[in-house]
């Protein structure tokens, strides 16, 4: 194995690093649309939990009094992943106040990949991708 990698040398090592960081095992679309180097924390109210394959999505409404009203589309893993870290399809209900740490989208759209999701009871889910 190691021998077979020798001809590629340092270039391979660099690529391994990038691939592991940016592309988790089940990349249905490229994870490159999320900026893995940036963390953003959002506080808002759950509008909808879409409990679907290959990705679940949490739509979080952030509205400031007199300010902008934005729905964030936040991606997580599939139900099979989430259920095994203790989340259920009814864990988050519309109106629940949540704090979500995300890797935001690179292109300025209000979306991201969830890193940590904390619900109204203070419980955090941090292995949801």
């Amino acid at each position: 194995m190691k021998d077979s990698q020798k001809p590629y040398g340092a270039a391979i090592l660099a690529v391994v690093g990038t691939a592991l960081m940016a592309f988790p095992a089940h990349a249905h679309h490229s994870q490159a649309m999320f900026d893995q180097s940036k963390d953003l924390t959002i506080e808002g109210a759950v509008q909808e939990l879409q409990w679907t394959n290959p990705h679940s999505w949490l739509v979080v409404h952030v509205g400031e009094p007199g300010g902008a009203s934005v729905n964030w589309q936040l991606e997580m893993g599939p139900p099979g992943k989430l259920s095994r870290v203790g989340m259920k399809r009814n864990t988050f209900k519309p109106g629940d106040k949540v704090t979500v740490r995300i890797h935001p989208m690179r292109d300025g759209r209000a979306g991201g990949q969830i890193v940590t999701l904390t619900g109204p009871d203070g419980h955090s889910f941090d292995d949801v991708r």
Partner: protein, 254 residues
């Protein structure tokens, strides 16, 4: 070909009737009788080890990080797709279109698999992408190379060496990938697996990939399966259910 298909079909029907009869007889008797009826209708049908159950896949990094030793033109092609992937272009990745990963990439995903042992066959049901893979242990051969129809899971035949199931898979689609690094292969990829129980709750799954068209040498890795918790069930995984990112209505970030 048609004649042999027909006779194969007839054999299968006979085997199924025999198995059903044996199971009915077993149901009337003790559970032990049912067990032996299912497992021992004939020499070819015997499984010397019982892998049945739901298993969690662990330790897939050997496959995730696998970089086969490619011939120069394939190394060039691999470098090109990797460069595209680095800027977010997943063109050429079937899973990006919700198609199955195929073999051997199906072994990578961190979702359970269910193994079924029935006469003449070991069946692998994967949660990820709802795939079904049949490893025929009834003594049949692969179809002739010029007749084989490339598929995502390929054509798998197996035999037992002691308590190790030795499986051989060919007929894999060349538009599938070996792993998420977009490692390519030709339609001559051969997947050799040796599956051994190393305790009541652990399976060792040794895999060797050889592709005389694309590789300069075979590549090997080992994964481990451990028994899932009794309450863990295989979930449905229908891939095209999410609203795709392209059709999602995004607000502008503030």
């Amino acid at each position: 070909m048609a004649a042999s298909s027909r006779s194969r079909g007839r054999r299968c029907v006979l085997a199924a009737v025999a198995a059903a009869g044996a199971m009915m007889a077993g149901a009337a008797g003790s559970p032990a009788a049912a067990q032996s009826a299912v497992h021992a209708p004939g020499a070819k049908m015997t499984h010397p080890a019982d892998f049945s159950g739901i298993w969690k896949v662990e330790g897939q990094n050997g496959l995730r990080q696998l970089r086969p030793a490619y011939k120069p033109d394939w190394a060039k092609r691999y470098a090109e797709v990797r460069a595209r992937l680095a800027v977010g272009n997943t063109e050429g990745d079937p899973t990006a279109r919700c198609l199955p990963p195929g073999m051997p990439r199906a072994l990578i995903f961190p979702y359970p698999v269910e193994l079924l042992m029935t006469p003449g066959q070991v069946t692998v049901l994967t949660e990820y992408a709802n795939e079904v893979r049949r490893i025929f242990t009834d003594g049949r051969k692969h179809p002739p190379e010029d007749e084989i129809e490339p598929t995502f899971r390929g054509h798998s035949i197996g035999h037992w060496e002691g308590k190790t199931l030795v499986a051989d898979t060919i007929g894999l689609r060349p538009d599938t990938l070996i792993n998420g690094t977009m490692a390519p292969h030709s339609d001559k990829l051969r997947v050799a697996e040796r599956i051994t129980m190393v305790g009541p709750n652990e399976l060792k799954w040794e895999v060797t990939l050889d592709d005389p068209v694309a590789f300069t040498m075979p590549a090997s890795f080992t994964i481990k399966l451990v028994r899932a918790a009794p309450e863990d069930e295989i979930r449905e995984y229908v891939c095209l259910d999410s609203v795709p990112e392209a059709e999602r209505k995004f607000d502008k970030a503030p």
